[in-house]
C-alpha cells in the first residue's frame, strides 16, 4: 500500500494575501484509508479539501496524488469523486442520469455504464429509484445518490464535505455506518470533512484535528481521545476536566503540579521543566468515586449537581477549587448514595491526568 497516496507538502493558502487560512500543512494519507479532517468552522479543513479537489489552488507548496503533483491539473482531470455538503445533485436529471453523467463524459459504453449504475445503486440500497428526480427523494435518499454518484466511476479517492450535515440525528448515525461499510467493502481512499467529532470517531481510520490552519494532531480515534497531545485537541474531542496550574517538580515520568494550595501528580506530555504553566486534562470516566487506595490522586469534593442519564449519572463536583469537575457514574446499586450536597472522595491515576500546554 502506498503510504503517501495523498500528500500535502508544505501547503499554505491565503485568500486575501493577509491571513493564512492554511499554514504549512504537512499531511500524508495512506491508500485505502478513511481520514477525517475535523475542526471548528474556519479552521481550514474545507479549504484543504477544496485544494485537493482542485477548486482552490495552494498559495504555496504542492499536493501530490499517487506521486503526481496535481496543483496544475484542472478538477475534471483529477478523477476524484466528491460528495458535496448539499449533495449537489443535478435537479433537472433523474437519479439514473445523475449517475450516468460521470460515465458519459468518460465515454463509457451504455451497457457497461448501466451495469456500473446498477451496482452503485445497489451499494446504497436504492435499486428501483433510477427514474426518480432528486426532488422526489428524501434527504437521506439524496445523500445516498450523491454517494453513489461519487463512486460510480471507480475513483481512487473520494472526498466528502460534511455530507451528513443536513440530515437529522438518527439518519445521520445510520448513514455514518453505511458510508463506513461502503468504504470497507470497496477499499477506496476517503477524505472526509466534518465538524462533528462523534461522526469522525465513528467512521475514521485516522483523524486530523484542524485548528487555526494547522493540523493539531493526526492519529487514530482511540489515540486522539485517550492521548491528546495538546489542550485544544483534549478540549475539542470529548468531555474534559481541566486544572490550570504550575509545574513544581518533574521526575521519573511524573510531574507535580501546584493547583491552588495543593500539589497533584500528573503525566507530563508537553511540559519540560519546573515553573512552566500547564493545563491538566482528565477524561470524566477516568475519575472514580470512592477510589481504591492504589490511585495516586485522591481528593474529596462536594457534589453540586446530579443529572440522571439513564445508564449513567453525571455528577458535577467542586474539587480543588474547580466547580466544573464532571464525573460519569454508572447506575449500579453500589452508587446509590450520590446525593446533592454530599462530600465524597474521588481519585484518578496520575497517568490519565495529562499535563498539556496552558492555552
Amino acid at each position: 500500500m502506498n503510504k503517501e497516496f495523498v500528500k500535502f507538502d508544505k501547503v499554505d493558502k491565503s485568500y486575501d494575501g493577509k491571513i493564512l487560512v492554511v499554514k504549512d500543512l504537512q499531511l500524508d494519507i495512506e491508500e485505502g484509508e478513511f481520514v477525517t479532517m475535523l475542526g471548528p468552522s474556519g479552521s481550514g479543513k474545507t479549504t484543504c479539501l477544496m485544494m485537493l479537489a482542485g477548486f482552490e489552488t495552494p498559495t504555496h507548496g504542492e499536493i501530490y496524488l499517487d506521486g503526481r503533483a496535481i496543483s496544475s491539473i484542472p478538477p475534471h482531470k483529477r478523477g476524484i469523486g466528491m460528495v458535496f455538503q448539499n449533495y449537489a445533485l443535478f435537479p433537472h436529471m433523474t437519479v439514473y442520469e445523475n449517475l450516468a453523467f460521470p460515465l458519459r463524459v468518460r465515454k463509457i459504453p451504455k451497457d457497461e455504464a448501466d451495469k456500473k449504475i446498477d451496482k452503485a445503486l445497489s451499494m446504497v440500497s436504492l435499486q428501483g429509484f433510477a427514474d426518480r428526480m432528486p426532488g422526489q427523494l428524501s434527504g437521506g435518499q439524496q445523500q445516498r445518490v450523491a454517494v453513489a454518484r461519487s463512486l460510480v466511476f471507480d475513483p481512487q479517492l473520494v472526498l466528502m464535505d460534511e455530507p451528513l450535515g443536513a440530515l437529522d440525528k438518527n439518519l445521520r448515525e445510520s448513514m455514518q455506518y453505511e458510508i463506513k461499510h461502503i468504504h470497507e467493502s470497496i477499499g477506496v481512499t476517503v477524505v472526509y470533512v466534518t465538524h462533528d467529532q462523534s461522526e469522525a470517531l465513528t467512521m475514521s481510520n485516522r483523524i486530523a484535528v484542524f485548528n487555526d490552519g494547522k493540523v493539531q494532531q493526526l492519529s487514530s480515534p482511540d489515540e486522539l481521545y485517550e492521548k491528546p497531545v495538546n489542550s485544544f485537541v483534549a478540549e475539542f474531542i470529548g468531555e474534559n476536566n481541566t486544572f490550570a496550574g504550575e509545574v513544581s517538580d518533574i521526575s521519573g515520568g511524573k510531574c507535580k503540579v501546584k493547583i491552588a494550595n495543593t500539589e497533584i501528580l500528573a503525566n507530563p506530555i508537553s511540559v519540560k521543566g519546573k515553573g512552566e504553566k500547564t493545563k491538566i486534562s482528565l477524561r470524566p470516566e477516568r475519575a472514580l468515586i470512592n477510589p481504591s487506595d492504589k490511585m495516586d490522586n485522591i481528593y474529596s469534593g462536594k457534589i453540586e449537581e446530579v443529572i440522571y442519564h439513564g445508564d449513567h449519572t453525571r455528577v458535577r463536583i467542586n474539587v480543588l477549587g474547580n466547580n466544573q469537575f464532571i464525573l460519569k457514574v454508572p447506575n449500579s446499586s453500589a452508587n446509590m448514595d450520590i446525593k446533592l450536597g454530599k462530600d465524597i472522595k474521588i481519585g484518578w491515576n496520575s497517568d490519565d491526568a495529562r499535563a498539556l500546554d496552558p492555552k
Partner: protein, 417 residues
C-alpha cells in the same frame, strides 16, 4: 348516529358553519375594500379601453345610421341589376336629411373608403338635389353623374350595411373584400402592412436574440461575483433603466449619426473613409442598437434571479465528476437557467413587438414598426378604427406567442424574480 352528520354548534348554539362564515365575512370585506381601488383603476384604465378599442375596430354604425331607409329598402335587392325606384327614393330621403344636418361630407368620406369616386359624385348630387322634382328619383339621380347609374357604386353602399365589419382587420393584412364579396389581397405595390408585420417580428426576434446573448454573461457575472462588485455591476445595469427613454434614445442619435461620435472615431482610426461614413441611424441598425440597449435590463433581471438560485456546487460537482467546464456548463448550468431565459425572452419579445418611441425616433423609413403605423393612423389619418384593429391584432399576436410558449415550455417554467 355518526358524528359526521351531526351539526356542530358553537357554545351559543349557532351552527358552526354559519358562525365561521360570519367571522370570515368581515375579513373578506376588508380584503376586498383594500383591493377595490386597484380593481376600479384597472377596470377604468385597462379593461374598459380595450373593450372600447375592440368595439371601435369593428364599428361601422356610422353609414348604417346615416342611411337607415336606404338599407331597409335595399334588403330585397339582389345586387345584380340596378336597384328599383324604391331604393333610390329611400336614398334621396336619407340624403336630404343628411344635407339638412350638414353631415353629407362624412358620408362621402366613409363611402370613399369603400370605393374611390364617391366624394365627387356626392358633392354633385348635393348641388343638383336642390332642384329635384318629386317622384322618379331613379332617373333624376342617375342623371346627376354616370357613376350613379353604375351598379358597382350601389353595391359599395350595400357592403356598408352591416353595423359590424371586419374590413379594418382585412386592411391590416393588406386584404379587402371585393365587389363579389371575395377576400383578396391588394395589388403588390400597395402591400405595406404585411411588410411592417414581418419587419416587426424580425426586429423583435433579433433584438431578443441580441439581448439574450449580451445579458447571459452579465447575469452570470452578477450572480457569481462577490457582493461588493455585483452591487456595482447591478447599478450599472439599472442606471440606464432609471434614465429617461428619450434621453437614452437621443444619446444614441448623437453617438450613431453620420457626423456622430462613433463615426468620427471610425474615421479617426482610419477604419472608414471620411466620405463613406456608414449610416447607423435612421434605419434598421439604429433600431436594433437602441432597442437592444433599452430592453437589456428586462433580460438581465430574470436571468439574474434564476442564476442566483443555482448553487455553485452544481458546477463544481459537474467538474469533479469529470465534465470539462464546457460540458458542465452545457449539461448542468444551462438547463437550469431555462426558466430565466424563457421569462427574459418572452418579456423582451413582447415589449419589442409593441415598441413605439425608439423606432419612431431612430428608425427612419426602414426601421419603423407596426406600432408606428398605428400611431400614424391615430394622429394623422384619424382612422381610429383602423388603428384599433391593428392594435388588437398586435394584442392577439402577443397572446398567441404567450400561448405557444406555454405549450412549448410551460408557463410554470417561467421565473420573473
Amino acid at each position: 348516529m355518526s358524528s359526521e352528520t351531526k351539526q356542530i354548534l358553537t357554545t351559543d348554539g349557532i351552527p358552526l358553519e354559519v358562525s365561521l362564515k360570519k367571522a370570515e365575512r368581515r375579513n373578506k370585506i376588508k380584503a376586498f375594500l383594500l383591493v377595490a381601488p386597484l380593481l376600479l383603476f384597472l377596470i377604468i384604465t385597462y379593461v374598459f379601453p380595450i373593450g372600447e378599442m375592440l368595439m371601435r375596430s369593428v364599428d361601422d354604425k356610422m353609414v348604417t345610421e346615416m342611411l337607415p331607409k336606404t338599407y331597409k329598402a335595399m334588403e330585397k335587392w339582389d345586387g345584380k341589376e340596378l336597384p328599383e325606384e324604391e331604393v333610390f327614393a329611400a336614398f334621396h330621403e336619407d340624403f336630404i336629411k343628411l344635407v339638412e344636418e350638414k353631415r353629407e361630407g362624412k358620408l362621402s368620406t366613409q363611402l370613399n373608403y369603400t370605393k374611390n369616386g364617391f366624394k365627387s359624385i356626392i358633392k354633385k348630387l348635393r348641388r343638383k338635389s336642390k332642384n329635384f322634382e318629386e317622384g322618379n328619383y331613379k332617373e333624376q339621380i342617375m342623371a346627376v353623374h354616370k357613376r350613379w347609374a353604375n351598379v358597382e357604386y350601389w353595391n359599395a353602399i350595400k357592403r356598408r350595411a352591416p353595423a359590424i365589419t371586419g374590413q379594418k382587420y382585412l386592411k391590416g393584412m393588406d386584404m379587402y373584400k371585393n365587389e363579389t364579396g371575395k377576400i383578396v389581397s391588394v395589388s403588390e405595390d400597395r402591400r405595406i402592412h404585411r411588410i411592417l408585420w414581418l419587419r416587426t417580428l424580425e426586429i423583435a426576434f433579433f433584438v431578443t436574440l441580441f439581448c439574450f446573448l449580451m445579458a447571459y454573461p452579465i447575469a452570470h457575472l452578477l450572480a457569481t461575483l462577490p457582493m461588493k462588485y455585483s452591487n456595482l455591476l447591478m447599478i450599472c445595469v439599472l442606471l440606464p433603466f432609471w434614465t429617461s427613454l428619450l434621453v437614452r434614445t437621443a444619446s444614441w442619435m448623437i453617438l450613431l449619426q453620420q457626423q456622430g461620435v462613433v463615426n468620427d472615431f471610425f474615421v479617426g482610426i482610419g477604419l472608414v473613409a471620411d466620405d463613406a461614413r456608414p449610416e447607423m441611424m435612421y434605419n434598421k441598425t439604429g433600431t436594433y442598437v437602441a432597442m437592444t440597449q433599452i430592453l437589456l435590463p428586462f433580460m438581465v433581471l430574470p436571468l439574474y434571479s434564476v442564476m442566483k438560485t443555482i448553487s455553485p456546487s452544481l458546477m463544481r460537482a459537474g467538474k469533479s465528476l469529470g465534465g470539462t467546464p464546457i460540458v458542465a456548463f452545457w449539461k448542468v448550468y444551462f438547463p437550469l437557467t431555462i426558466p430565466g431565459i424563457g421569462a427574459g425572452c418572452l418579456l423582451c419579445f413582447i415589449l419589442a413587438i409593441g415598441y413605439y418611441i425608439t423606432p419612431a425616433l431612430v428608425g427612419g423609413a426602414s426601421g419603423t414598426l407596426i406600432s408606428n403605423q398605428i400611431a400614424f393612423h391615430m394622429k394623422s389619418t384619424l382612422d381610429w378604427s383602423f388603428a384599433s384593429a391593428m392594435g388588437l391584432m398586435l394584442l392577439t399576436g402577443v397572446l398567441a406567442i404567450y400561448w405557444v410558449y406555454n405549450k412549448l415550455v410551460g408557463i410554470d417554467n417561467i421565473k420573473l424574480g
